[in-house]
Symmetry: C2
Subunit: 444 residues, 2 copies
């Protein structure tokens, strides 16, 4: 018996090594255990050989989306930091608000955000936050995939590296391999060189990578140049951070020399364009990163800057802001944008051979999309509608690791009503804002 | 008997003369005929006095959104002009494709787009396209509101002004006042001065305004300065276009002198930021327009550049691109963005005393929104979630002119299946592209 047959869908196939799209109409997807066994023209498989069948006539199948940088539990603070400068955003809003955070807030906030992501077809997230044990429990329950790092600042002391290292060790490979872990120093401007070096050392011991914010704006790069004579990216190079597999969030303030440096290392860049627009952080040079061979993945960032966890919006904004920034619509084409959303995001996430494709041998993280909505019709060109017309609510069914976790828009692993009720209970407490109790000070 | 009671909703109230938002929880909306009779705390009205009741516990009521510039029927060409320069977009894609256009394509295309807009809470559209009699029939059937102009080029000859003038006269005030009409010369670069003057004369005779594209990019402004020594906006001033009530589409290429000039006239600006990003047209100086007292309304433009008719996305993109362009997140705040989406869009549309508010005396164009989705929760700040978290699919119920036209996401006036089937039938014919048969040449 094979486990699952997704019957008669249209499969979006994207070449492994280049932005080339093929549409495969009337195909079946055969799933055995956690992996895709075959993708083949429909009618060849005998339905009686399958434990479970999903009829998918007229639906599009593509790989589950990957969110390469988020702070998912921040959804509990949604809407509380709007229309303010990045300095105020950190110093008067987020970091004071986060002094209210309790471990159970992270559990419910993570469930809330993971549920939102499932409903939008996002099956994996590289998350960077606090009380990450709770986040891991939430992911375990939800049935999705996550690469979790416990955020730390130098002010937490070097013992924090041991503590988050213990988290990394405890949860690596948990939940049938759905959970992976990573070391997560916050940023060069909140972690001194010794702290970064110690983080790298621990990452090396544990055989994991590092997920860190760097050069979020060009102002940060300028501040670093002024204070130390080197850029934030050079700080990472000098402290060894770039010698382990690394997810670098944002890098809007990359210099040409930084790009050369990144191209020589295992760095992947997480790109969260909605945050950059909303906080007026400038545009990350995605076209230059790509030209230098540096992988770029899509990301939402946290739901206070974003304000959702919608990767379709990130995809669309990446394509449009890169065109705008380059001054020509001929760059960041639809195939390239979809290549970034799938293959390249899987590479940044650290599983390029497992994720980002609906293809035999890959993990069975598959989403089924209904393009029948009026906002898609008529579909002259399917890839165009995926980039420019999608609503998260068009995602119908979600499969992760071979298990169906949303079917016809019904979540099968989580109780939405319970999650929302739990989060709402804490709203008044979470919204209290005392700037004297901020967890850090933003002064890059 | 009063006609309709919308019971126990939360009403979004926006002040008439400034971006100030008040949230009115537990309110009823009383509708008599086409207009709102009262908005009052729930529990005061006797339900037995109403012909019809909509229980709206937990739903948000706000004015139907207004799309101040579109080419709705272009949805039939969706996805056919991607990743190309604006010159190619016109000369090799849109204008050759539009040589395939038949009147019945406009009818079904308009129905398709109006249905999409209803589902997204857009109740009125200023549309600029061809075979507009067909568009008017579609709007009449759909139950929505439209301000329709038949697009014309100087190459059509002056007799086209008579012909489209006849359309204006025939349909003005039709469909219980839901349809209004306007003269629609295409742009200064496709209509010479005599043609513009004749259009103004006809508009004056008919007592209507003009809807026109102008200074779509700074390149167009530069080309005009080079050819004629004056900007496209100055061309409009000199030919009298600005002396009638005018909707100016785009104006990304406005100079400071243009803004001074526009401030002295009855010009409203239609702002379609997705098109500007996708076609790398630059950013329209919305903050400068607003500072000069020029009304700005939200728009989608046509679904080939956009590629949808989603005003929520226009709202969000306007707010974000203005922050990005200004280099600070402190501008284009949430109240200001919502003021533009409602009061100011109604002003640009030409009905500031009828539309854009849920308030006694205004026309009953009301949408009910469900903010219960996980992408909104928890709602710490309701106005923030309207700007940054909305999906078009969150709109539950739509009322226009006092009539319910969508209830719990079911369209009550249109047959979606029939519309999609009709449009699909013509796809192959519509997608044929012969650059020798373009309807115009783009050479501003």
């Amino acid at each position: 018996m094979t486990d699952l047959l997704v019957q008669n869908c249209t499969v979006l196939h994207i070449a492994e090594d280049r932005p080339e799209i093929t549409i495969l109409p009337h195909h079946d997807i055969l799933v055995k255990g956690r992996r895709i066994q075959a993708v083949q023209p429909t009618g060849q498989a005998d339905p009686s050989h399958f434990r479970s069948i999903i009829p998918a006539d007229g639906l599009l199948a593509m790989p589950g989306l990957i969110n390469t940088h988020a702070h998912v539990p921040m959804g509990i603070f949604r809407g509380l930091g709007e229309d303010v400068s990045i300095e105020k955003w950190f110093n008067e809003y987020m970091w004071p608000l986060e002094s209210n955070l309790q471990p159970e807030d992270v559990y419910w906030g993570m469930l809330l955000g993971v549920a939102e992501m499932i409903r939008g077809g996002v099956t994996a997230v590289a998350d960077h936050y606090f009380y990450t044990d709770e986040a891991a429990r939430a992911v375990e329950k939800a049935g999705t995939r996550a690469l979790l790092g416990w955020a730390m600042f130098a002010s937490n002391g070097l013992e924090m590296i041991e503590q988050t290292g213990a988290f990394v060790k405890n949860w690596q490979g948990a939940a049938e391999g759905r959970i992976r872990t990573i070391m997560a120093p916050h940023a060069p401007y909140t972690c001194d060189d010794d702290f970064l070096r110690a983080s790298v050392k621990k990452a090396g011991e544990l055989g994991v990578g590092i997920h860190i914010h760097v050069a979020e704006t060009m102002s940060q790069t300028e501040a670093s140049l002024e204070k130390r004579g080197i850029t934030p990216v050079q700080v990472l190079a000098q402290t060894g951070v770039l010698d382990v597999p690394t997810i670098l969030a944002h890098v809007c303030g990359a210099t040409p020399a930084d790009i050369d440096l990144l191209a020589k290392h295992h760095a992947g860049i997480a790109h969260a364009p909605k945050t950059y627009l909303k906080l007026a952080m400038g545009t990350a040079p995605v076209l230059d990163f790509r030209a230098a061979g540096i992988p770029v993945g899509l990301a939402t960032d946290g739901p206070v800057s974003n304000n959702t966890l919608d990767i379709w919006e990130s995809l669309r904004l990446m394509a449009m802001t890169q065109k705008d920034h380059a001054g020509t619509p001929e760059v960041m084409t639809i195939p390239e944008a979809l290549y970034i959303a799938t293959r390249e995001s899987a590479r940044v996430y650290g599983q390029p051979d497992d994720l980002g494709a609906v293809e035999a041998g890959y993990l069975a993280d598959i989403i089924l999309i209904d393009l029948g909505g009026l906002h898609h019709q008529p579909v002259h060109r399917l890839p165009a509608t995926l980039v420019y017309n999608m609503l998260a609510s068009d995602v119908q069914t979600v499969i992760v690791n071979g298990e169906v976790i949303m079917r016809d828009r019904q979540l099968l692993t989580l109780d939405e009503g319970e999650i929302v009720a739990q989060v709402r209970q804490s709203m008044a407490r979470l919204a209290q804002r005392n700037p004297d109790q901020r967890i850090q000070v933003y002064n890059p």
